[in-house]
Subunit: 345 residues, 2 copies
DNA sequence: TTGTAGGCGTTATCAC
DNA sequence: GTGATAACGCCTACAA
C-alpha cells in the first residue's frame, strides 16, 4: 500500500502540487495568499487521503531535520537521564527530535552521532561534559565541527577551550560546603571515591577537595583518594578498599550517587553503620538518593533546568549562527540528609 | 562552508556521479564491477574532500532510513533502559539507529514515534508491553499500523491480540516460585504492591499471586493488594499504607525493583528490619538490586537478550515482510538474595 | 567498465 | 491567486 504524496493530494483537489505546498506551509509565513476555497479543497483532500508530508523529502529540500543530537557520558547513570529529560522537554515543545547517544555505548567520541551529523541528519548538538576536551584528536574534531554545526555544551566550567555556547554548573562550591559540613562534624580522615568515565568529569570535586583540606590544615593522603570506573561495582570495590585501610576514614565522599549505592553496600558488608560509623556525601541528587536507607546527603544541580536552558541556547544559535557566544551559570548546593553524622570517637 | 556532494567527488576524481555511487555501494552487492584504479581514485577523492553521503537523500531515494523506533512504557525505570540497551546493541551492529520514545513522556501512544513513521522516518517499530492492548482505539491504530510497518512486540504473553511477531517473557512461573519461597519461609500474610503505568503490565504477577495463594488455601485479602503508580514515591506511599495495616503483612511483593526501593525506605521509617521483620520480593533484577542493603530477592528476565532477539526478529521481517509470524519465549526465574527470610513469630 | 537520464517528495522561483 | 519548472543529493536501469 503506497502512501499518498503531494501529487495525489493535488490531483484529488484539482490543483497543482505547488498550491498544495502553499496551502500547507506558505500560509504560516504570510507570504503567499491562498483563496479560502482552494485552501479548504486542499485540506479536504489531505484528510481524505490521510496524507502526511514526508519528512525526509522536507529535510532534503529545506536543509533542516528538526532533530538535534545529545551526547551524554554514561547511559547507566540516572543523573544523565534527568538531564536528557530537560533537553527533551524543551525540544519537544519546539517540535524537535532528540537523537541520544552515550559515550560508553559508542566509545570513539559518540561516533554514531558524529556520523549522523556529518550526513546532515541533525541541526545541532548538545554535549555533556568537558571531558571531550581530553584528547587532542577530539579537540580537532570538535573545532572542525563547530564550524558546520551549532553546538552547546553542558559543562562544569564556564570557559572551556572552545569558543562555544555553554550552560555551566559545577560542584566546586558544593564540595567546599560538603567538606565544611564534614569538618564541623569532626571528621578528619575523609576519603574520596573518584569514579567517572573520564578524569575531567571529576575535576570540580577533586580540586576543591584538596584545597579545602589543605586550608583546614589537613594532609592530602593519596591512599584516601581512589580512582575507579563509573559502575556500581566500581564504587563497591573502591569503598571496600578504602574502608579496609589500616586507619579507616570516618567519612567518604563519592563522586556521584550511583557510586554511593556501592559504598553503602560495602559499608554493609563490613558491618559499618551509616552514618554512625561512616559518613557519606555524594553528588547529583538522583531521584533515588532521597529513598535510600539512609537518605543521602548529596549535592544537587537543577539538572532539568540545565537541559532546558541548553536547548534554548542551541535553538537561538540555530536561528542566528553568528550571535555572540552565550554562557550561563547555575549554582549547585549541598542537601544534608541522613548519611552524614558526627565522626565516631 | 558547503559540504561536498557526490558531484564534487566525481569531479575531483574525474569520473561521473554514477561511478562514485557504484564505487561506494555497488561493490557490496557484487553487482557492478569497478576497476581497482577507479575505485582508489574515488576513495581518494572522498577522503580529500571529507565527503559523507547525505543520509536524507539516501533515505528519500532508497525508501529505507536505517532507523527503527522503540517505545518503552516508563523512561524512569532502569529496567527498560536495559531492554533498550539490548535492542541498541543489535541495531548498532546492523547499522541501524534507534529512535527511543517513552509512553510517560508522550502519553498518546508514543506520539513522536508514530509521527516519525508517518513521515517515513523509521523502517520498523518495537513495542514494549502488551499494555498497548488496553484501549480499543489503540487496537485500531495498531492493526492499521501493522499493515504498513514491520512491528515486533516485547511482551509478557506469547499470543496477544495481533498477528504480530513477539518476543515474550513473563513472570508467571517466577511469581509462583516467589510465593512458594515465601510460603516455605512460613509467611502467610503476603502483600502485593502493584505499581505500574498501566494495569496490564502487572497481569503476569497479579494473577499467579492470587492463584498461588488460593492453591495454598490462603484467603485473597483486598487490603493486601495495593495499586499505585510507577514512581519511587508511589512505592513508598503504598508500602507505608501496607505496613501500617492493623495486621501487618510479614512479606511484601513489589512489582518491580524500583518500587522496592520505596518499600525499603518505608520499612526503614517504620523501624522494620528487612528481612528480620519483613520479607521483600520484587522483579526485574535491575543492576542496583544486587547492591542495595539488603540485596533484593528478585525475579529476573534476560532482558538484554530479549532486546536483541526483538531486533533480530524485526530485521528479519523488514527483509521479508510476508514471512510467517514468529514467536519466541524466554523464561524468567527467581533469584533469592537477602531481602527474604523466615517470617517473624 | 563507465556515463546518461530519470525520479524519490518537497520547496522556491518564476511566470501567468 | 495559481501553475509550471527547477533544484535538493542520491540511486539505479539502461545504454555506450
Amino acid at each position: 500500500m503506497k502512501r499518498p504524496t503531494q501529487v495525489d493530494v493535488a490531483r484529488r483537489a484539482g490543483v497543482s502540487r505547488a498550491t498544495v505546498s502553499y496551502a500547507l506551509n506558505g500560509r504560516a509565513n504570510g507570504q503567499m495568499p491562498i483563496s479560502e476555497e482552494t485552501l479548504q479543497r486542499v485540506l479536504g483532500a489531505v484528510k481524505e487521503l490521510g496524507y502526511e508530508p514526508d519528512v525526509r523529502a522536507q529535510a532534503l529540500r529545506s536543509g533542516s531535520t528538526k532533530t538535534i543530537g545529545l551526547i551524554i557520558p554514561d547511559i547507566h547513570n540516572p543523573h544523565f537521564w534527568e538531564n536528557a529529560d530537560g533537553v527533551e522537554q524543551e525540544a519537544r515543545a519546539a517540535g524537535y527530535h532528540l537523537l541520544l547517544s552515550s559515550m560508553d555505548l559508542s566509545p570513539e567520541y559518540g561516533g554514531d552521532i558524529f556520523k549522523d551529523l556529518a550526513g546532515r541528519r541533525i541541526d545541532g548538538l548538545i554535549l555533556m561534559g568537558t571531558f571531550i576536551n581530553q584528547a587532542a584528536e577530539a579537540q580537532n574534531t570538535l573545532a572542525h565541527l563547530k564550524r558546520r554545526l551549532p553546538l552547546v555544551e553542558i559543562s562544569d566550567r564556564l570557559n572551556g577551550n572552545y569558543d562555544m555556547d555553554v550552560v555551566a554548573s559545577d560542584y566546586r562550591e558544593a564540595t567546599k560546603e560538603a567538606i565544611a559540613h564534614l569538618l564541623s562534624l569532626q571528621h578528619r580522615r575523609i576519603g574520596l571515591i573518584c569514579g567517572v568515565s573520564a578524569r575531567e568529569l571529576a575535576e570540580d570535586r577533586l580540586q576543591p577537595y584538596q584545597d579545602s583540606l589543605r586550608a583546614a590544615g589537613l594532609p592530602i593522603e593519596p591512599e584516601l583518594i581512589i580512582e575507579c570506573g563509573p559502575t556500581l561495582e566500581d564504587g563497591y570495590q573502591a569503598a571496600l578498599k578504602l574502608l579496609q585501610l589500616p586507619v579507616r576514614p570516618t567519612a567518604v565522599i563519592a563522586i556521584n550517587d550511583l557510586l554511593s549505592i556501592g559504598v553503602l553496600r560495602a559499608a554493609g558488608d563490613l558491618h559499618l553503620r551509616v552514618p554512625a560509623d561512616l559518613s557519606l556525601v555524594s553528588y547529583d541528587d538522583i531521584p533515588m538518593a532521597n529513598y535510600l536507607v539512609p537518605r543521602l546527603t548529596t549535592a544537587t544541580k537543577d539538572v532539568l533546568r540545565l537541559g532546558r536552558e541548553a536547548f534554548k541556547m542551541l535553538l537561538a544559535r540555530i536561528a542566528e549562527p553568528d550571535r555572540p557566544r552565550q554562557r550561563d551559570y547555575f549554582p549547585a548546593r549541598l542537601i544534608v540528609r541522613e548519611s552524614t553524622g558526627p565522626a565516631p570517637l
